[in-house]
């Protein structure tokens, strides 16, 4: 009896050894810096001349209208883009789940490729495509879907649409592959049984597929939400926050305005970023369990 306990304890200790390197690294390179940043967020001043300023910085932050606009923007993206993208990814994955489908490899590759590109690469491409006389407008006007070319970047709502389109283009394939993997887990016999019972494709999708994929859907939702809240690349490079701050995201605005507010760059703003994202962490423990 005593011997079994010692063995288990020994194994447990080895387990701790396994996880120590990774954990220590995360503490050193993520948690320690953010704590330092947080401490500085309660100060103001230039370089080494820092004084304790309490909540002064936070007060100024809360009074900033542009910041409020940027937060609103991010939430608009979140509410529209994430569900649209995940639904699309789910549908595509379901379609690709058919082993009889021809060109499966081609579809999977083509849909995944966008996320392998870096932003600089596709920003120029997207801007050209969505220009006033760009390809998209050309197609839209030729097919008579619209009368005049849409000024995508010039109008607040079309600019937001552009960001949403860009994000969807880039990340649908990524999420799709996650769903595909999950789908391949589901026993085909369940579908067959449902088919015999007379369930339509739609019913099979909503009553079998979606519930069984819940854990994966949750994972991708969290990842996508996290990514959208921290949105930087697309709003910076595609629309530069315009027109008139309609697509300004928090991650673009805060680092730009902080050196102006206080002379210390790393400050309350970053802590605020984390507080904004903090809501998500509530979900994480459940997911990780």
């Amino acid at each position: 009896m005593g011997q079994v306990l010692t063995l288990k304890r020994r194994q447990n200790l080895i387990g701790w050894l396994f996880i120590v390197p990774a954990s220590v690294l995360i503490f050193i390179f993520y948690f320690y810096p953010i704590v330092r940043a947080a401490l500085l967020s309660f100060q103001t001043g230039v370089g080494v001349n820092l004084q304790y300023a309490g909540l002064f910085n936070y007060q100024r932050l809360l009074a900033d209208n542009v910041l409020k606009t940027s937060i609103t923007n991010v939430f608009i993206f979140l509410i529209i883009q994430v569900p649209v993208m995940l639904t699309l990814a789910l549908i595509l994955a379901s379609l690709l789940n058919d082993p009889n489908l021809k060109f499966r490899g081609f579809f999977r590759t083509a849909l995944f490729l966008p996320c392998a590109t870096s932003l600089v690469s596709y920003a120029i491409v997207f801007r050209s495509l969505f220009a006033l006389d760009g390809l998209v407008n050309f197609v839209l006007t030729s097919l008579n879907i619209v009368e005049r070319p849409i000024n995508w970047i010039g109008n607040p709502w079309t600019a937001r649409a552009l960001i949403i389109i860009a994000l969807t283009w880039r990340w649908t394939g990524y999420n799709m592959v996650f769903y595909l993997a999950g789908l391949q887990n589901i026993d085909r016999s369940i579908y067959e049984a449902a088919l015999i019972d007379g369930a339509s494709g739609f019913t099979r999708f909503t009553r079998i597929t979606v519930p069984l994929l819940k854990p994966i859907i949750l994972l991708t939702s969290i990842m996508s939400t996290n990514g959208t809240l921290q949105l930087f690349d697309e709003t910076m490079n595609l629309t530069n926050g315009g027109p008139a701050n309609a697509t300004l995201s928090v991650s673009v605005y805060l680092p730009a305005v902080l050196p102006v507010f206080t002379k210390v760059r790393l400050c309350r703003g970053h802590l605020l970023c984390d507080l904004c994202h903090g809501g998500c962490t509530l979900f994480h423990p459940n997911e990780g369990g």
């Binding site: 990774a22 590759t109 966008p114 120029i124 491409v125 592959v177 921290q230």
Partner: protein, 270 residues
């Protein structure tokens, strides 16, 4: 019968359309690499004859070879280190489960919420004090351990048959031995998945290399591309060529390993 045929046709049309929309921007990028700057700016869609010219100009003004090599070296180092550190941690969290470890895992997951911009300057200070500026080590260190990867490996360890572990223990294998001789080979596809994701992120990394780079010998591809569009006059054909080149490695790696990639996520989701 007809309805099914119709549904089938619709399915293929939809998939082709989606696939085309996905790769069209990339195709346009590659086509533009063969055109002159004026052609690109005026929206030309057909391939041109300027590929060699663009390449010559690019190679003359910038050291693509060095940038590619640096990017490769950094990405490979980051990937190798990450895979080792995170996989063993993920395995550890799952196989040697206890409440304490679980609690630690949840804390580590919080790190995913931290935006890089927030910790950029403290990191720079730390790396500077360690005297590691401008080194591959500095590039790799902050990104070696990520909660996401640990999570991925932990999930795959969840489905690692405990019988194999028991059998190996009975044969007298050490815990580390079990990890390296049993877990790693079986979970190969998870490693491929994690490797592709890490390689991609390291390859496209911009802000961190920018800050720690202290000499032009450390230049990496994303920085080189950014240099190309920084002038008063931009040669867009040349830029598109540079961009295509910088995208190529990740694309090729994915093409070669894509089967294993899907399997990898599969195995971690079971």
């Amino acid at each position: 019968m007809i309805r099914r045929r119709l549904a089938n046709v619709f399915k293929y049309v939809f998939l082709f359309a989606a696939a085309l929309l996905s790769i069209f921007p990339l195709l346009w990028m590659a086509v533009s690499a063969t055109n002159s700057s004026v052609d690109v700016v005026t929206g030309r869609l057909l391939p041109g004859t300027y590929l060699l010219e663009n390449f010559r100009k690019l190679a003359e003004t910038h050291n693509i070879g060095l940038a590619m090599w640096n990017s490769f070296r950094n990405a490979l180092a980051a990937t190798a280190a990450s895979l080792v550190v995170c996989s063993i941690a993920g395995y550890g969290f799952e196989i040697y489960y206890d409440k304490g470890k679980d609690f630690l895992m949840r804390i580590l997951l919080l790190s995913m919420m931290i935006p890089f911009a927030a910790i950029m300057i403290p990191l720079f200070m730390m790396v500077g004090k360690m005297g590691l500026l401008n080194t591959t080590t500095a590039f790799v260190l902050p990104t070696v351990s990520t909660a996401f990867l640990i999570f991925l490996f932990r999930q795959s360890a969840r489905y690692f048959p405990p019988d194999i572990i028991e059998a190996a223990r009975l044969e007298g294998m050490s815990e580390l031995g079990i990890f390296f001789r049993m877990y790693v080979p079986i979970m190969r596809s998870t490693y491929v998945t994690a490797g592709i994701i890490t390689f991609m992120n390291a390859w496209n990394s911009y802000l961190w290399p920018l800050i720690i780079m202290q000499s032009k010998d450390s230049i990496v591809m994303p920085l080189l591309i950014s240099n190309l569009i920084a002038g008063y006059v931009t040669d867009y054909g040349m830029v598109m060529l540079g961009v295509t080149l910088s995208v190529l490695p990740t694309v090729i790696i994915f093409l070669l390993l894509q089967n294993s990639f899907a399997e990898g996520i599969l195995s971690s989701m079971r």
